[in-house]
Point group: C2
Chain length 253, copies 2
Amino acid sequence: MMDKRKLNADHSQPIRGADVKSYGGFCPVAKAAEVVAERWTPLIIRELLTGSHRFHEFERGLPGVPHSLLVQRLRSLERAGVIERRVVKDARRPEYHLTAAGQELSGIVASLGEWGQRWMHQTIGPKDVDPKLLMWDMHRRINLDRLPDRRIVIQFDFRGLKQQSFWLVLERPEPSVCFQDPGFEVDLWVTADTVALHNVWMGRRSFADALDEGRIEVDGPSDLARSFPSWLALNTFAHVPPANRALADSKLS
Amino acid sequence: MMDKRKLNADHSQPIRGADVKSYGGFCPVAKAAEVVAERWTPLIIRELLTGSHRFHEFERGLPGVPHSLLVQRLRSLERAGVIERRVVKDARRPEYHLTAAGQELSGIVASLGEWGQRWMHQTIGPKDVDPKLLMWDMHRRINLDRLPDRRIVIQFDFRGLKQQSFWLVLERPEPSVCFQDPGFEVDLWVTADTVALHNVWMGRRSFADALDEGRIEVDGPSDLARSFPSWLALNTFAHVPPANRALADSKLS
DNA sequence: CTGTATCCGGATCGATACTG
DNA sequence: CAGTATCGATCCGGATACAG
């Protein structure tokens, strides 16, 4: 069946529906905020920037987003000219891609993340963890070139999480993550304290320290186990150190 | 009377209440978006960056924000460690200032504005205008050093707006704007088509063209009238040209 | 002036169930 | 898989009244 939405050959003006709640006025910050600063929108753009293009990928990367709200947001962003919905021929599922306008939001989203890592996220506590989301982020940030030239399967077990295992399937062209046993032979087993692995992933603790303290354990062939830490590219913002609030405030006085 | 909120000597962690609706998880973009991407928040930060520090100034710069919602947002931002509420001695009114964390949002807000001006704001139509807001923005962006060394009062009349005049009182240390006749002797009278003046202010039309077309008229002593355009620093984002959407899209294909 | 405290209609959000 | 439909709960916008 054909897609009924029109193809909008005229792009001389942004495509705006009446769905966005306007601030009124002429301020460009307000105009941008109407589109970009709505709930969930910055995270949808983050997902697009990190490689998600399909509806179910957004749902994986945005745990808790209501199904129907995600549809709304995608339509909204499409009308605002930030994303483009492509119905690829011979593929049943549509793909979403950033337009040129959308790609120019990458700096803003990156700055948001840096600011968040610097000021709002000085350490990661039990309330901040989310193993599924961690696994999803990990599969997007793997140094594939550090891996042997074959498929490597890693099983993750989080301590305290009852019965829940995850599998990282590292292969070309793209790693994937499974929440059920994919049936492949497992090359490495990682057992970790949930909070500790999050802190390592976010650059707040070193992998080596977590190993020494026994918070992370890697089992399997020793050559693989030794190189495993180098496979992890860590979170995009792991390199951003926390701000020293005490210092910052004293500078102000 | 003393302010009951505690002074929070310990700033090792951000001060967080339970008011912000959390996205959950550990993503720094999400943590930042919880604080910064709530409705009205980017505009409150814009106001702080452009020189507003008092409650009534925020209300002027944020037309339409509900009185009580503004209070909520200010508390929210204070708890998040983005702004600081100062009760200055011998002043009845508190002042709001950006903390070090808040100041580091300036780049994000600036980028938002540039993006908005570039993509969402290619021309300004009748729905985008707001004379009060325009006057408020103007009084914040005056090249005082181009002015004679005395108080200059300008009366603005927008064509089509019934009976509504505005006055710009240009004096040191700070210009001010009046929505009622301040009673000063007027030095210059500006009569303008509302949309045209907005377009000039946003860098979308030149002042000279608007004069030539008769959309803006300046009456008063000719030396003042001649130098008047140079007093206007224009909107912060007036220098940002619109993107060429047709070109951008063709590059993508 | 800077709040606090209401109230109310409507929009938005979050959760769930249903469809092709 | 990618949506629609629906339904409470919450939030927002706008108004008003009032206190320090």
